[in-house]
Symmetry: none
Subunit: 199 residues, 4 copies
DNA sequence: CATGAATGAGCTTTCATTCAT
DNA sequence: CATGAATGAAAGCTCATTCAT
């Protein structure tokens, strides 16, 4: 990549990060392009050199979030861990990914219904991929009698809700680190799945 | 209350319900007053006789949600149930309250950061009241060795996140009723609190 | 019609007239809504109470022009005039209609390709109706040996081009009145159609 | 001219042609420099090495059109043809010039009011030159009793309107060739000028 | 009380133009 | 010479809010 392309890529990323943060802080609508530009010390016009619309910006935030999450499951997929350990791993990674560096949780959490169809179709597809992988882990655990019988989809929604919500209250000043919280959530949310025998 | 006042109160409630539903469906910003008025077959002008601003409308949605939740804990407070049963009761009521009749979950979930300070102060106060009650239950359980030692605030946030998220995916067409989901969530989320001895 | 409705209709017409004039003077793009509003002493926002978009405004100009022209042919249709006199009548009416009161010629002339498809479809349909009526007169004249054989469509385009162009140069200060010009054009443009025998 | 200058001149011409075509197809405003550049496979920046502004580009289109028309009358001027034949010749040449090679008609037709004063002054001067030459032919014809008495300016405008309009409807797929149309227009538009005696 | 009408602040977006490299 | 990048002015449009009737 040439110097120019590098710088361009860097700017694109910068814009994305700032947009993600502001979308998280104030919501998609209340975060104006004027504000995003001001924070970046760009002009509004310049931003449009890199993006095609505000919607596109929101989409890219969601897309980046989903891509990071999908990368996570690639890492875990072939680990040969038992289902309970694997699920805990996924939950921990999920939390750390969304919380670290990019403020993607609240984006993911709050504004998917702000996406126009042509964008949300893509995101939903990726989300399904992600959730199906998790469903696979749970189903595997059930068939191996490690997990008890549960309504899989409901459990996934429960876990996702709990995990995604962290962005709403977590503060670096709190008594627990993000890693600790991740570990605690993983344990807390996998425990009720364990079949009595395995406890 | 005079007939007039009654009618006015009824209209106010109607407006509130419709607003809550539309806020849930499309988000605070995308739900316009024009639309709310159209659904109610009022004119935009008329609505302003009953409300003072769109912000106020959103505030009242949040406030109603919080009041209903606070009423719930009143019912449970003197039940003399043991902590685990009491907590389950609260979770079940929480879910059923937010999901039923008024579409208040998504409001609660998605748009509290859309509230201006003077409004959100009030809401936050009520939320603290609510969460403190739940914290009391958990602390009571811990001191009575029914619950294990946990970071109370974190657990509350975990539970709230999971429960509030239901509004995003629940559909009446699904295989489980709202009651069943409430029961399942209550069990699932209280289980990991139980101390080993009590299992 | 109530007083209110009357006033609203009047405003709508006012907006239409001013828009038509400015579209004529400066072209569709260069005539901004700011400017239209300023001339009307409305605010930009108010105008949008009456129209749905700038495109819609342009469409309405075209539509009004076409409706006036179609009304004209209704008047002439049953006059039992011979084809040459009837055609002259149509040309005179065409010119007077487009030039008088509303500045619709230049609109008609210059900016039909600025209309989005959904609008231009309607306009084109009406234009076809209009041109087909004229084509009918000419064909009738030919079959009755009053007109010589000519390529009908080409003649219509020739006449339309000449007539519509008037808006580009006509000034009230000139030596000929609009009526005189209309008469002159009518004679000039019908003469070459006459078959030698009839001269 | 050096090789370099030649190449530059060639590019300038290329830009002009493409601009003329796009101005014709979509109108001055809707044809963006981005688009012109894209079609030429230049970058927007590069184009500015050859032109000074978009206005200038439009001006050059008009100017080229006028220059071609003025060249035409040079060819005819000394032909010693009688007025009627000479006028027909001018009309035919007018039509063929504007329609062929460069898409200059619609430019001429539609967007002269888009030119800023300093540019349109020059164009108007050339147009006057052109129209005066035609006026000379007509006046000559009148004084030689070949043409009847007519308001010369009005006739010129009538002819110009008819001829310039061709660009709006002419299609190569139609039944008549451009030459045939030119001939037909010339005959049609000169006929009404002939004095009765000369018929 | 209800409403049609008006307002204006604010938003996203476009695009001709410039300029450092 | 060519280009990617940046700029900013201006445009069309939306919508909560107000107010006379």
């Amino acid at each position: 990549m040439s110097y120019r392309e590098e710088r361009a890529a860097e700017r694109r990323l910068n814009i994305l990060k700032t947009a993600a943060r502001l979308f998280s802080e104030k919501g998609y609508h209340d975060a104006t392009l004027d504000e995003i530009a001001r924070e970046l010390k760009y002009t509004k016009g310049s931003i449009y050199y890199y993006i095609s619309s505000k919607q596109d910006l929101l989409f890219q935030c969601h897309d980046m979030a989903m891509n990071l999450l999908l990368e996570n499951i690639e890492k875990v997929r072939d680990s040969e861990l038992p289902p309970d350990a694997m699920l805990k791993e996924v939950i921990k990674e999920h939390i750390e990914t969304l919380m670290s560096e990019f403020n993607l949780v609240t984006v993911t959490l709050g504004s998917d219904y702000e996406l126009e169809d042509k964008y949300s179709d893509i995101i939903i597809k990726k989300r399904d991929l992600y959730e199906n992988f998790i469903a696979g882990i749970i189903r595997d655990g059930i068939s191996r009698r490690i997990f008890r019988e549960v309504p899989v989809k409901v459990v996934i929604n429960l876990i996702m809700g709990a995990a995604n919500w962290i962005g709403r209250w977590y503060s670096e000043e709190g008594p627990m680190s993000l890693q600790e919280i991740g570990q605690f959530y993983a344990d807390y949310l996998v425990t009720p799945l364990m079949s009595r025998n395995s406890a």
